[in-house]
């Protein structure tokens, strides 16, 4: 009896292991990654203009945000998926905007902010210094600035989640 239970338990562990490998990779990586201070930033966020959704991940000790959804995904001129046409580096103008890392290199600080990163504005093709503050668990103040924080603009991003059924 004990031996049978052991076999069933081993099969259950193997089955669960296989199941976990079949989860979508981005969800899987969140689950498997070791949680660190600052990981409350992880998730999907919407800028105030509602035209994009950005998924923030951690890679090593730094945080990055990729565009995962666009209100207008296609270029109105070509009908093709939008690319980074405003990038001043011509070599990057064919890079699709979906999947683009617009937040880069953020490091969590003891004062509860994420700093040392940059934010890229695909509408202007400009990259700004940026600091992120979490005003509540579902709200971020994203301040892009030029040199000093006084010369900048804050955008408020809201956390997104699957709608409750």
């Amino acid at each position: 009896m004990t031996r049978r239970l052991g076999i069933w338990a081993a099969m259950a562990v193997i089955a669960l292991g296989m199941l976990s490998f079949e989860l979508p990779s981005e969800i899987n990586s969140d689950v498997l990654a070791q949680k660190t201070a600052g990981d409350e930033l992880l998730g999907v966020w919407e800028p105030s203009n509602g035209r994009a959704r950005v998924k923030i991940d951690r890679i090593g000790t730094k945080y990055y945000g990729r565009i995962v959804w666009l209100l207008e995904p296609n270029d109105p001129e070509t009908g093709e998926p939008k690319t980074d046409i405003n990038n001043p580096d011509a070599a990057l103008q064919d890079v699709p905007l979906k999947g683009y890392r617009m937040l880069k290199d953020f490091v969590f600080q003891e004062d509860g902010t994420w700093t040392e990163g940059t934010i890229y504005d695909p509408l202007s093709g400009s990259t700004y210094n940026c600091v992120i503050k979490m005003t509540d668990e579902n709200t971020l103040d994203i301040r892009g600035y030029i040199g000093v924080q006084a010369l900048g603009r804050t955008d408020v991003w809201k956390r997104l989640a699957m709608p409750k059924r």
Binding site: S25, I59, V68, R101, L123, T127, Y128, N138, R153
Partner: protein, 354 residues
């Protein structure tokens, strides 16, 4: 500055973008608010340092009339070879939230008059005081954008300006001129916003209360647009790319300048005459704005300065006369002047907002 991929050493994950199609706010009470900008709008200037130059023109000064309509000083025409000066402005966001944007700013404009023949005490005092002291404006301003929801907003702009013939010694603050505008607007799409409201303005030189219309729009391809705050300014925009923009249109400029310092000579005390120069002009122009490097933009304007009014008005018991374009009152001006309409050029270096 384009971005380089600092994560290129990491293998990119394949993303199933459809996972993000049907999401909603995690905070069920969260609301969307419209933003103050639309797509394709020219960038706001945080710091601006510029130089304004007008070419030569004739300035025909009329007789200066006293309160009893007696002629205090005879008129006369002089050639002004150039009118020029420094223009500096600052604009800093104080509050920048989704539900409220508040900016504060300051500006200094200096206008010097270079006469072909230097006026003397024998000339009309207007010529003399412009040649000796010029005109300047120092002011502060504020802009509040209050979105009501994702489509509607209120916009308030206010300013207090000290304008006159003062130098390093400022005039008393009782000579401050206040302007303001309040608009209700709508932002039906990301590429269009409009609004209507009321303004108290000195744009045509003297105090007026007028309706104002805001209209900003960008076409779907972000090649053409309009940037209008009628009647103050209206421009058609041609976007070559987000770093190169051409504009064609006009701007009304104006202010009321207190004749504060007395000219050299025998005319008497201008201060006790309670006189103010009502300057109002239209600038019909072509503007080219482009990024020199990153967030540093150069703006070059060229066009004609078309005079609307450069008359001297006398305050009545210390109060400005509100004529409402002659509908309410038609008091004569203390001095009616005529100016030629020269070519003008304005060049400014600007730090633009993210």
């Amino acid at each position: 500055m384009g971005q380089t991929d600092t994560t290129s050493t990491f293998e990119e994950e394949e993303i199933d973008f459809s996972l993000y199609d049907n999401l909603s706010f995690a905070d069920e009470g969260a609301k969307r608010f419209c933003s103050p900008k639309i797509e394709g709008l020219s960038p706001a200037k945080l710091i601006s340092v510029g130089y304004d130059f007008q070419g030569g023109y004739d300035l025909s000064a009329g007789d200066i009339l006293g309160a009893d309509d007696a002629v205090l000083a005879a008129g006369g025409t002089h050639r002004v070879n150039a009118t020029h000066g420094l223009r500096v402005g600052f604009n800093v966001p104080v509050v920048s939230k989704t539900s409220l944007v508040w900016q504060m700013g300051a500006n200094f404009w200096n206008t010097n008059y270079v006469y072909d023949v230097q006026p003397t005490a024998a000339d009309n005092p207007l010529h003399q005081t412009l040649a000796e002291h010029g005109l300047r404006t120092t002011g502060i301003n504020t802009t509040v954008f209050k979105p009501l929801d994702d489509k509607q907003f209120l916009l308030f702009q206010g300013s207090a300006d000290l304008s006159g013939t003062y130098g390093m010694d400022f005039m008393p603050l009782k000579y401050l001129k206040y302007s303001a505008a309040l608009l209700y607007g709508r932002r039906p799409t990301e590429r269009k916003q409009w609004g209507v409201g009321l303004a108290r303005t000195y744009r045509v030189g003297e105090i007026n209360y007028i309706p104002v219309v805001l209209y900003n729009a960008t076409d779907a391809l972000n090649k053409w647009g309009a940037e209008v705050l009628f009647p103050a300014r209206a421009h058609v925009r041609r976007t070559i790319d987000p770093r190169n923009m051409l504009f064609f249109g006009y701007e009304l400029e104006g202010q009321s300048y207190r004749m504060w310092r007395n000219p050299e000579g025998e005319f008497g005390d201008l201060r006790s005459e309670d006189l103010e120069v009502r300057r109002g002009e239209a600038r019909v122009r072509l503007v080219y704005e482009f990024s020199v490097k990153d967030f540093v933009w150069l703006s070059v304007q060229a066009g004609y300065r078309v005079n609307y009014r450069f008359d001297v008005d006398r305050l009545m018991e210390g109060e400005e006369i509100y004529r409402a374009f002659g509908l309410l009152r038609d008091d004569p001006y203390a001095q009616v002047n005529e100016l030629g309409n020269p070519f003008y050029l304005n060049v400014s270096l600007n730090l633009v907002s993210p």
